[in-house]
């Protein structure tokens, strides 16, 4: 018989002790792995989403809101900006690429984004099926949106006003037609329905007349009006060039030179009615806030971990005292004190391993659950991944903790008086 078998039998012979120690260990491992995964994946996904663009230009307001709405597509826009205002930016020597985006409608909660095909290239999104949109009201569909909405090539749908699903007014005159389906990119593109800029404009042109109807975000667009140069100014250009009255939600910019990062945001913020926001900076700020929450939870998990180490220690200490006679018996079988120590160590380490595996599994179930929620609420998907290097380090820490707890609890083995212990009744 192997000592391991005996250690295992010893471990399960006290189910309540086992349960308590395991519960604590499982809980702390689950918390730590869950938070690590959540912050890691969220951060990773955010960074992947903002990676293609260095700067966003939009209506004045909160820069974080601008980034969230225009790059990550989770918040409402700060307002609209005029095409003519961005003309100079598009040709600026520091700018490598400037992609206008415009939106304001949704289909069953999935945003319809009007933009140029360059947008898809920025995220390296390729068509899995069908073709790119060529005229207004043709739309290509991101992979997650497609599967959630169950859209096929050739399907048509009516968009509705605003960014969230509602029973409100729809644009019945202008059904969108699905002409292409995108391959999964693991970015925000997967959640979008993408069409050309004109689709967004035309959908709203026909709703009525007058400038107010260009307000593409319904009640959220009020800030925009205050930022306008004024209606008089507006009117002068209306007849000359249609483009100049057109509005977009924001302009996504990739710099050619790092100098752009230094000069352009300041220039825009000080000299125009628009604002420039740097996605990298804003997301770092956001992650800093989230990071504080994550550290708090990690702190709690760490405390639970220490308690679980203590519980392993106490339960082993108790068991070793209770089993003094059994240990003495094993000594008469010819076992050395080191082997008895090994027995106690194995018991502690078994517990640690089982606790880790259970906790890790629970953590992953948590990630899966969070993913369900986040997909429904924000369209963000978390992946349930295999073990990661940081988690293996964490496992090493737990094993070390169990090791120390077991050794400390087992020291009395070396002081065991075999003859006396066996004679005690």
């Amino acid at each position: 018989m192997k000592l391991g078998y005996l250690a295992f039998k010893n471990m399960v012979s006290k189910p309540l002790n086992l349960l308590l120690s395991l519960l604590l260990l499982t809980l702390s491992v689950a918390l730590v792995t869950f938070v690590l995964q959540l912050s890691g994946q969220l951060g990773g996904q955010l960074n992947k989403n903002i990676a293609p663009f260095d700067m966003v230009v939009g209506a004045k307001g909160s820069p974080l809101q601008l980034v969230l709405s225009s790059v990550l597509h989770v918040d409402v826009p700060t307002g609209n900006i005029k095409l003519k205002e961005i003309a100079t930016l598009q040709n600026h020597p520091f700018v490598e690429e400037a992609i206008p985006v415009s939106y304001g409608d949704n289909y069953k909660g999935y945003r319809i984004l009007g933009t140029k095909p360059d947008y898809l290239d920025s995220y390296e999104a390729s068509l899995g099926d069908g073709r790119l949109y060529q005229k207004s009201f043709e739309v290509v569909v991101g992979s997650s949106a497609r599967s959630k909405l169950n859209l096929q090539l050739g399907d048509t749908f009516i968009s509705s006003h605003g960014l969230v699903e509602s029973a409100g007014e729809g644009h019945e005159d202008h059904p969108f037609e699905v002409v292409g389906i995108l391959e999964p990119t693991g970015t925000v593109v997967d959640q979008l329905l993408i069409s050309n800029l004109e689709s967004v404009w035309e959908a709203h042109d026909h709703e009525g007349e007058g400038h107010e109807e260009h307000d593409q975000e319904g009640e959220h667009g009020h800030g925009e009006h205050e930022d306008h140069d004024g209606h008089d100014h507006h009117g002068e250009h209306e007849n000359h060039q249609e483009d100049e009255t057109r509005e977009i939600t924001s302009l996504l910019i990739k710099f050619k030179s790092p100098l752009g990062m230094v000069q352009l945001p300041r220039f825009i913020n000080e000299n125009t009615t628009m604002q420039a926001a740097l996605p990298g900076f804003e997301i770092n700020r956001l992650m800093g806030l989230l990071g504080a929450g994550a550290s708090t939870i990690n702190g709690i998990a760490l405390a639970i971990l220490l308690v679980s180490g203590l519980s392993i220690f106490i339960s082993l200490l108790k068991t070793i005292r209770e089993r003094r006679q059994e240990l003495a018996l094993l000594r008469t079988y010819g076992l050395r004190p080191q082997e008895l120590l090994g027995l106690a160590l194995m018991e502690g380490l078994f517990l640690a391993c089982i606790g880790f595996v259970l906790g890790w599994t629970l953590g992953r179930i948590g990630v899966w659950g969070a993913s369900q929620y986040m997909q429904a609420a924000y369209g963000y998907v978390l992946q349930v991944r295999g073990p990661e290097p940081t988690e293996l380090y964490f496992m090493a820490i737990i094993l070390a903790l169990a090791f120390v707890a077991s050794i400390l609890a087992s020291l009395s083995i070396f002081k065991l008086n075999v003859a006396k212990t066996l004679s005690d009744v």
Binding site: E326, L329, R331, T332, Y333, L335, R336
Partner: protein, 208 residues
């Protein structure tokens, strides 16, 4: 085979216990009798190498215990000594069969199922092999304790009151079993007892 010479042991604050020399060739038996406190169990533990004697020496199968390293002593004890305790000691997390298996596996790592079944049968434990040790009756526990002392065919069998909880029928069975095992395995058998039923079965006796 066991030989002791000039053994003595002193417990704190009491008179020294002095033991008569013992010399047993393989297959021979010895009954140790004496009143409580005469040092019967102390003698047993010294012979098992569990308690170093204060004076004198012990040799098992010609090996002087004093000359052994600790590791060698543990090995000798595991391999050649079979202890039958007055107070029963088992591993409670294991069932009867696994307790026997555990004793077999140190230090020689054998796993002789036939031996376990045969011994269990002779001690009337067959139907209890898969029971937990704490569900056994006193008598059954004593018989299991005896099985644990014999299972690995030791060269020296040391039994401390092996029949105290047995009825007359089982007492005779156990005495015969101990004698048979000692004969088959050519073991030296030392029994400590004050059981009159046992005394009549053994000629070779010493009194402490």
């Amino acid at each position: 085979m066991i030989e002791t010479t000039n053994l003595a042991y002193t417990y704190n604050g009491s008179e020294a216990l002095v033991f008569p020399d013992i010399s047993l060739t393989p297959g021979k038996h010895l009954l140790v009798v004496g009143p409580s406190g005469a040092g019967k169990t102390t003698l047993l533990y010294m012979m098992a190498g569990l308690l170093p004697p204060e004076k004198g020496s012990i040799a098992i199968s010609g090996t002087e215990l004093n000359s052994l390293t600790r590791k060698e002593l543990y090995k000798l004890r595991g391999e050649h000594v079979g202890l039958i305790f007055q107070q029963y000691h088992f591993i409670h997390s294991l069932n009867v069969s696994d307790n026997l298996r555990l004793r077999q596996s140190f230090p020689t790592n054998s796993n002789d199922k036939r031996r376990r079944e045969e011994l269990a049968k002779r001690l009337g434990l067959t139907e209890y092999l898969h029971k937990k040790t704490n569900t056994l009756s006193q008598g059954q526990q004593q018989r299991l304790s005896i099985a644990l002392g014999l299972i690995h065919r030791p060269k020296l069998i040391l039994a401390d009151e092996p029949t105290s909880n047995l009825d007359d029928v089982n007492c005779v069975k156990v005495v015969n079993l101990l004698k048979e095992e000692a004969e088959i395995c050519e073991s030296s058998l030392v029994i400590i007892t004050h059981d009159l039923r046992v005394m009549s079965h053994f000629q070779n006796q010493i009194k402490l």
